[in-house]
Symmetry: D2
Subunit: 390 residues, 4 copies
């Protein structure tokens, strides 16, 4: 309700029918600041589901499309004042690139769920499509849109930690740990199916979040890694867990751990970075606090909020409320939508300021491929090319 | 975006222009689930502010009204399919009742910021107006809409704690503690002006939240109290802090503490309830956890989330995401809007199920009056009549 | 083992036989730094228990005495180089003063468990006996010997908090909450028997700890209070819980809460002090951290340890280990023994530097009497004379 | 003071003069329960320091020895009723084995600081000496003596976690991170000197603690690892940090991280173990809590204390106080001394029940050697022989 309907960016959604998780999350978060407005969608291959979802969302019947191709084609032909401006892709992984490229070519901006692609090669193809299109491409690395993540990044940039030495990042979940319980779970099914999810399960689904967070906050580029992946449930074909040693081009080392079979864990994404002069620690499940350790000084806890002392501008503008009024995951995604919509309105192309984009996508794919290569290798270190980093 | 525009409840807002805090909070939260749609408003007595706010929110010029009387009159005459259905009151305290009563009489549902009124007598007048109106009245006791508050209430109801012995509730803020810093702060100004805020400052502003939470979770009725209030900033005319002993009709005792001059505190609302068989502890700044102590068993931590073990239905349906994806203050207020809108759609009157209402309003006013009476009294105990409790 | 046996202060113990709790705690803590050596004792009125305890502690038969009178008489006649120098009193409350006075008159230093006496009058008698005796008197307010409690006190003294506004102190236990479970429990029995414990149960047993901590850290003198006590178990004759409003001579207000029927609580002593410029928060169950809030700055956590930044000398010398090697309750009591023994060796009299003494004792008794008087009064405020404060 | 002097085990100490850290820690902890008595020592090669230390500890001049050889020789010839029974070795690493073997051969029990040896071969030599000697050998893996570590181990043994999947253990310190600050620091000097510390710095000093904890709690045997070590301070010759992937013979995987250059960290040893049915998490800096996650149940927090619900016997008997009276690092070491002394009194040989011993020593050395080999290897996995595990 916060932005004038006249200024809202008109979006369409592909995927996100009933039974899907992340589509509804996008709709909730997108609504928060009112920066966008849903004008059309193709939510499910199942006609019933598609219709019901679109109707529930208040779409006119003619803007609920049977498939994504039809959606793009139909919207392209509408008058500019009602035409969808950007498409949100919340399908299983294998459709991310085909839809994104088609949409860009049809003249639409794209906001895609991650991973950006199924392979690094495919991500490079996408990168080219973005460049040719003069359109925006955003990638839903939601965790990069929390205020205290920006605060951490800014403190690293300012040199508050000195030269970085160590990066430890962990993303721990338990929901795929109980084989029996995940039978019949649609979310579990596609995430563990190579045809839909790609070459990796856990590393693609959440390892890339941890990887992206580590590079984003540290400003470093991982250039070698050593992975030990595992699969813990009978019949599962992709990794559901892994531990990965990291080395960065700038001289830091560390560990990335990601797991979806860690019984009892909810959604525990945590990062600790140690430098010569200080250290930072952030936990997604208590996202409004950032722990700051300094050489020869007591530990400090910086707190999110529009009025909180010690925060940089980027952190403050990603908060809506005074300190002590907790904001969470939906607000983080809403931050992404707000910045994406602003970039659309400004007429920007390529990357939307403040929004993760194809660079994060390329890095994520490079990470997945290096992890899979490392898992197959007997050598300790597998390189991860830096050329995908700007 | 989650509800069909056709089903959204049409609301108008009174108050909430630029420089106001809670109006924008309402707009953000209301947007989250898309259960309501803003169709008109009268945001400020200052014409410029009023116009700018309405325009920014996408309202047509004819539905941005110069004052609340005009708004009610104009909307009443519109065709039913476009007419505002409910009015949200986010003005300073002294206008809550006049607007609410006029709106109810004009046939509109009312959702009011708290306190419900400036006095218990005025709250009773309001109660009568609600009863005569056959309309809904909701009161924005936002903290009562957190999932884990409902979980706590349910566990008390189920007898998990046995007979309750102790209730300790604290609401601690620091923002009014620095006299110099609050000069020129509009929020601070009206909250400390008796003409606008009523007979109490801190107790009315946040003490009532603590009081409402204590009665809501415990199910008990406070029937006597002993207050020690304070004013800590030169020239301030209302209490900015206070400690209050409590006794309930059902036999529990405890303490309510509220402060707006506790340097360094953000928005620390906490409640601890001890019974014969167990205890519960909840902290608003980490709202997704509920600590449960039991006789002869290790402490447990229940967690919010649509998939979390041990939660009652009322707690689950107030979560949107799986465990570990933090939800916060805006989501709590969004829960209130969702339930209020559903009650409007069902055609209910009086109290909206799941939404705090006039009963909380009456209790809050009774609390404020008893606290002020106790502060002036040399006797230890001041009664708080139970007749305002259903 | 740390001090030379030749330099150890020779102590005798009265009370602390098998089945007693605090006597063994004293022996453990006293041993830690080796500042004292047990040379005699009268541990129990039950001859068997007395003998077994003494023998287990390695005492010669002739220094295990049938009663405390015999102990004092016998030790007085021993040659100075083997004679007990100080007596530790760990009996039920009613014997504290009789033994202390007799011991002082017999020329021995005294270290007494708290409360110092059964009444303020009795405590004044004791005060006189101390003054006449030229001997030392220490009172086992153990919680005042934690390093971070001294750190907090020092920060208040230095003016880091500015003028103090609020003092909130809570001491919450659950072990007397289950009537059935405490039957046959010796500890529970005497603590709830007026003949042995005095006029108050919970307030005397743990309320005095909370009170002492509040005055010690704040440096303020409570001069009025308003108490609401309770008794929750059938047949119990003393208070087992209470909430008390406080006012200090220096202008702060606050609340003291003490409870032994708070189901599920272990030993939760917590204090929060707010001043104009900052605030401190300390929790006995995590004693090595001190939370410091400042106006317009992020929260800091000071940490105990011989090498930790920001600590005052008094805090550092009450730590034995580098930060991160947790020290606890026994170490706090060991700090008290270390300071008491050092004062004995220096030949001091009256109060031992760094050790709580008769002043805390007088204040504790004044508090108990005021609380009981307040409980019986219909008036809100009951004065607490300041003349017991130096 | 708790045990009769007549029953105390007579110990001598080698190392631990002024300026040393761990020797004094041993003396403090050993004194707590009074299970041992220091009768002789050779504390420093520097005569002054040696004499001063011994005198301060109350030793007769003839039992303060110029070197460890003299100590062993002299004590051997004393009458059995005054002769030292066990020797405590708290020297730099390179002397651990020479002294231990000589002491065992001279008929003394040995309690050694860790690491047990400088190499696996040397540890095997020591193992033989223990077997031939019919004496006890204890190794000061202090962290294995915390009550909640035993509780965790017991819960794993009972199958509460099901088959273990993941083991993550971290030991993070910052004190060697500031090169300048560690100049002239004696502790820092020998730990980073290969001649005194052996082939590894950080991994030997604290990595072995983390490794020992992981194997102890899990009951698993690490059989392969992949190490990435680092050295961060100019001129330092040994590792001061490292990350190590682990695989166990029983099928779990995980990561061990140890660092002494993590700015701002105190002594952060943490372990998380995930199994099919549940998970445990323990943090040395808050040692009295153990977090237990279960499939489909809320998280529980088990707490140390003689009266705490849910604890196994081994955990309870390693507590001295009721819950909420924090015990710490010295109490953990005191537990070790208590069990070691009891084994001496029982006349046991080889391993003392409840006390880490040569098995942990062999495993630690095997770990160090494997880590160093892995660091030099280009292959991912380096085996770690299981034959050093019973």
């Amino acid at each position: 309700m916060a932005a004038s309907p006249a200024h809202r960016v008109r979006i369409g959604m592909i995927g996100g029918g009933e039974g899907a998780f992340i589509g509804e999350v996008h709709r909730l978060a997108a609504a928060l600041d009112g920066a966008v407005e849903l004008v059309c969608g193709s939510f499910s291959r199942t006609a019933d589901n598609n219709q019901r979802t679109g109707a529930r969302l208040g779409l006119a019947a003619e803007r609920i499309h049977v498939d994504w191709q039809t959606l793009l084609e139909d919207e392209r032909q509408r008058p500019s004042e009602e035409r969808m401006e950007a498409v949100v892709i919340v399908t299983p992984n294998h459709l991310h690139v085909p839809i994104a490229i088609a949409a860009l070519r049809a003249g639409f901006h794209v906001l895609s769920e991650k991973p950006a692609a199924l392979s690094l090669a495919q991500a490079r193809e996408l990168e080219q499509a973005i460049e040719s299109s003069q359109r925006l491409y955003g990638l839903a690395h939601i965790y990069l849109c929390y205020p205290m993540v920006w605060q951490a990044r800014e403190m690293v940039r300012e040199g508050r930690l000195g030269a970085l030495r160590k990066i430890h990042v962990t993303y721990s979940q338990g929901w795929l740990g109980d084989g029996a319980a995940t039978e019949g779970n649609k979310q579990a099914a596609w995430r563990t199916d190579p045809a839909l999810a790609g070459v990796s399960g856990c590393m693609a689904d959440i390892g890339t979040h941890a990887f992206g967070l580590a590079e984003f906050v540290s400003g470093h580029t991982v250039n070698a890694l050593c992975a030990a992946l595992g699969t813990h449930v009978e019949g599962r074909r992709l990794d559901d867990d892994g531990d990965v040693l990291l080395r960065t081009a700038e001289g830091a080392t560390g560990v990335l751990t990601a797991s979806q079979i860690s019984t009892g864990e909810e959604n525990s994404l945590e990062i600790r970075i140690h430098g010569e002069l200080g250290a930072l620690e952030w936990r997604q499940m208590e996202p409004n606090s950032l722990i700051h350790r300094e050489l020869n000084a007591p530990l400090r806890v910086l707190r999110a909020g529009i009025d909180q002392p010690g925060l940089c501008a980027e952190a403050k503008r990603r908060s809506r409320l005074p300190g002590g009024h907790p904001e969470g995951y939906l607000e983080a995604l809403a931050n992404l939508y707000r910045d994406f919509a602003a970039a659309v309105r400004r007429g920007d192309s390529g990357a939307a300021e403040g929004v993760p984009g194809i660079l994060q996508g390329l890095r994520g794919m490079a990470f997945i491929e290096a992890v899979i290569a490392s898992q197959k290798s007997e050598l300790k270190w597998t390189p991860l090319a830096a050329d995908s980093q700007a």
